[in-house]
Amino acid sequence: MPREAEPSINQRDFVFSAVQQGIRVDGRTPLQARQIAICFGNELGWVECSLGKTRVIAQVTATVTRPSPERPFEGILLITTEFSPMASSAYETGRPSEEEVTISRMLEKTIRRSEALDREALCILTGKKVWALRLTLHFLSDEGDLLDCASVAAITALRHFRKPDVEVVGDEVTIFSPEERAPVPLSLHHQPMCVSFAFLGPANVLVVDPTHLEEQLANGTMSISLNAQREICVLQKAGGVALPADEVMRAVNIAVFRVRELSDIVSRALEEDSKTRVIEVR
């Protein structure tokens, strides 16, 4: 698959001169993000998130399995990312491109390494049975900022999902189907989400939620994962244009604000959904 064609010099100059004057090519201001829309599927734990034209689907499924011998009292969380040419012709199935590796590593670090999910709560019978959760992210459309969109979808899916209720008596484990007993939500320690930035133009103007074109033209990018408690979970600025320390701190503060916004949006969407969804047993 040939590499994607680079934007022309005219396009680049146009984008830069526009952002220099405080307005981006799609009409947003540098710190303005696109509209987020979250919708839920029929199953619990199936979430589609769209950020402008970028769309990601997150799905959580659970099975019971043996725990790993080093950690007999912890459940397992597996995060997989599926990039397909459907998202963009630059992706191919098979060997992951650099961008795919970056995104899936960031998601791993954001959700798994920061211990967002309480894995000890996934334990059913120490050493014998635990829940193994599989979080799959399907990237449907890449119009820039896949990472932010994916992180919102992932956290929403984890909050939306309900695992079947279990009862343990001695060594006897009974798993109740959703018709017998209402399924139980997962236990999350905190909810980290990613905010990505790009630096455009000779003045390195900082923009939030870059579009695909802006990502291609950027001198540098930076992604920060935070939770609503103002804790930084991951900060990744890998190369790109060199920045003074204050600019980095400014981005961190903008990210704090944005994550709070995102958390509110997610909470509201979950609330809306719970009104119409039936989870209890009749």
Binding site: E231, I232, L235, A238, A242, P244
Partner: protein, 258 residues
């Protein structure tokens, strides 16, 4: 099992250093004379070698760019590098991400526009690992690129920092890295700007700034050390090439290949 104490009562770390003290740093240039440039760097017990090939005709013609050189980075971690022997698979995502961040760090610093349609291949070997992998790799790559005579805008100097309660510490060992929130930064010392920031542990925003800025300052100090070593080596080479005589023992290259 005794609990690891990052900072003891006398304000000393587990290896006896003060919080802002760096580990012993040493570097050699031209460790692999067959490569265009090479360097080996140690921060305490962490040892990393970088070999640079190029700018040379690109192996993969399809990837070249018409107006600049292509930078490729390959990383291999020796199985004996860590505490336990581990054979890492090639194409392991973590290794790929590591290589991608090193490539992204150096691409804007190397003057790639001087070598269109060629490729610069950087190969990093991790020989011994005791924390500070990213910092050692970046420092080794900087020195290898200088050894190869590839023009750069500045040194890229990298250092890690961590935080224990309210005390910031520089240059972490692996046991400190696994226990404390830490960040690795790479700076361009002349401008004082930062080109890489990588943090993977949870830390409150208010406590981040101090640790971050200290790491940047530390990077600038490290540049002085690296420059001293580079100048010594360049002076020795210049001596040999001018005089053609009176070669001192330390001027000769270390390897005895052939």
């Amino acid at each position: 099992m005794s609990r690891f104490e990052p900072l003891n009562a006398g304000n000393l770390r587990s290896d006896g250093r003060r919080p802002l003290e760096l580990r012993s740093f040493s570097a050699q240039l031209t460790t692999h004379p067959s490569a265009d440039g090479s360097a080996s760097v140690s921060h305490g017990l962490t040892q990393v070698t970088a070999c640079v090939y190029g700018p040379r005709e690109a192996k993969n013609r399809g990837q070249t760019m018409h107006d600049r050189a292509l930078v490729n980075v390959e990383v291999s971690v020796a199985p004996w590098a860590g505490e336990m022997r581990r054979q890492r698979a090639r194409g392991d995502k973590r290794t790929l991400e590591f290589a991608a961040s090193i490539k992204a760090t150096f691409e804007p610093v190397i003057q790639t526009t001087l070598y269109p349609r060629s490729e610069i291949h950087i190969h990093i070997h991790v020989l011994q690992l005791d924390g500070g992998l990213l910092q050692a790799s970046i420092n080794a790559t900087t020195l290898a690129l200088i050894d190869a005579g590839i023009p750069m805008l500045d040194y890229v100097s990298s250092l890690s920092a961590g935080l224990y309660l309210t005390t910031a510490m520089l240059d972490l060992t692996s046991i400190e890295e696994s226990d404390l929130p830490s960040v690795t930064v790479a700076v361009l010392p002349r401008s004082g700007k930062v080109t890489l920031v990588s943090m993977e542990t949870r830390l409150h925003v208010d406590r981040f700034e101090e640790m971050f800025k200290l790491a940047m300052e530390g990077g600038k100090v490290l540049r002085g050390e690296m420059d001293r070593i580079v100048r010594e080596r360049t002076a020795a080479l210049a001596r040999q090439m001018e005089g053609g005589g009176g070669t001192k023992e330390e001027d000769k290259m270390d390897t005895d290949d052939l």
